[in-house]
Subunit: 300 residues, 2 copies
């Protein structure tokens, strides 16, 4: 599959649809785990993450690097998907065989999103990517989970009343290696940047705050420097620790997914239906039914 | 615990923090499973779900019914929590012992959110609620999962360019029993309502479209009628089917959570660390490490 962008697209579809052959294919890909630098890009909706990622991809293409982008799309019956955006973005790099962009719907991946993303990252690695950007919307779980899997995380914010408050919330400091204030020409950009600088000053690890405008390109050089500093760390002495953390995270997510899959194999709708009847008729309690159901999975 | 609002609050905290005694407490609560009518309320952020729920609670209090509200808060390191809102809402009904409102953070509940919400619903049932409203933001998984657990779902939308498109997306028709167009005084409310009516006309099951303004109270009577129709169904001939579906959903979510918990018990960080070293040093593949990790959990 190395280097073949179309084969990569087919392989990811295989995993996404949980088709036969996906596991066999993945088993053969283990060798390159931890070779691509994986940067998670997260932040609230509408902060311009996609535009920012596209600019980063373009910059890395100028350096001659091979780049993968996995965009996790928080689609749901309510919010819908954003595949159109995906197609538009693909068009930008359509003739460039060294760029692979793929969006994955979070819908239907309950408890297994990270496993699917991990599998996709491994495939992009096998394709030979130097860098993989994993873009998630900072709502729900994907943003927290990506921090466990990626080698580094960039949190993208923009000047707005909401973000300012959000930044103050506990937990934010734990995920970001780089804080990006996008749309830096808007009012309040300075304020949010100062706020972030005050936050990172109190943290033990070195974290960066960068003001950019993805649209005008202002500040992009500084952002590239910050990403390059992380990538240098990954390729240097501290790289082993970053790889160990990421591989541990991937391993746990994949194993969890495997355990849930074996649960789904072990329990059938007939058993569920029978137990539900018994609970409804007050013959057994819900807790007893849950005990029976989970025991079936764990003994299988 | 029946009737004691403070005991209920303590019990839910116990479950939320996965403290000792939670499982024993829950085991004793099985008897009342399926006695409260559970309505899921979902929709994109900013559509006014909370205000709508508050109005529904007030209406049901006038009828003398005991009401529980569980608000699932899509908090994350990025978006932060909304506990302030919870406290403000509680104040409205602070002196009313027949209302229980609780928000639960979705953060940290990866793969186990539905289990926590299910446990909370069971506790609110044991407290003696006639109705339980479960409010989720229509992003990510919670909105899909609530449809499996609740007896009915109301999807709340508002006139806006985004929602209009979102409504068209596949999947939306599967979750809603009632479609609410809130902020019906805004431009475009008629258009979105027509759009929804065209959609529900093609569905086999009876689904309602209601235009309301939660703030002015316009249309609230019609919404109450739609909710009452669902509740009558729950208390009538079709109730058994609704209960069976909900109990099946709860059972599966709780069993999944149990299986994941036993995975977490079985694998320790020492084992994960050791396997991660072996993968990093290319002694075993990631797939092999995942196999070892999940085997440990499933044989435990």
């Amino acid at each position: 599959m190395k280097g073949d962008r179309r084969a990569l697209a087919r392989a990811i579809t295989l995993v996404e649809n949980r088709e036969n052959g996906a596991r066999e294919l993945l088993a053969r890909l283990g060798e390159r785990a931890g070779t691509s630098f994986v940067l998670g890009i997260t932040g609230p909706p509408g902060t311009g993450k996609s535009t920012l990622v596209d600019k980063l991809v373009a910059s890395y293409r100028k350096k001659g690097l091979r780049v993968g982008v996995i965009a996790i799309d928080p689609s749901s019956p309510i919010t819908g998907g954003a595949l159109l955006g995906d197609r538009i973005r693909m068009a930008d790099f359509a003739t460039d065989d060294m760029v692979f962009i793929r969006s994955m719907a979070s819908r239907g991946w309950s408890g297994g999103l990270s496993a699917a993303v991990t599998d996709a990252i491994r495939m992009v690695e096998a394709w030979g990517a130097d860098l993989v950007f994993v873009e998630t919307v900072g709502i729900g779980q994907a943003d927290v989970e990506i921090a466990r899997i990626a080698h580094g995380v960039a949190v993208v914010l923009m000047p707005s009343s909401g973000d300012d408050v959000q930044v103050s919330k506990a937990g934010l400091m734990e995920v970001g290696d780089i804080y990006v204030v996008n749309k830096s020409d808007l009012d309040g950009a300075g304020q949010i940047a100062l706020h972030l600088l005050a936050m990172v000053r109190n943290s033990k690890e070195r974290r960066q705050v960068v003001r950019v405008s993805a649209v005008t390109g202002e500040g992009m050089d500084q952002l590239m420097k910050a990403v390059e500093a992380l990538r240098a760390k990954f390729n240097g002495r501290d790289g082993r620790e970053m790889r160990l953390k990421s591989i541990s995270g991937m391993m746990v997510e994949l194993a969890k997914h495997r355990v849930l899959a074996s649960f789904e194999d072990a329990v059938d709708s007939e058993l569920i239906g029978r137990l539900a009847e018994q609970v409804t008729d007050r013959k057994i309690t819900l807790a007893q039914a849950v005990g029976k159901l989970s025991a079936r999975a764990l003994s299988g």
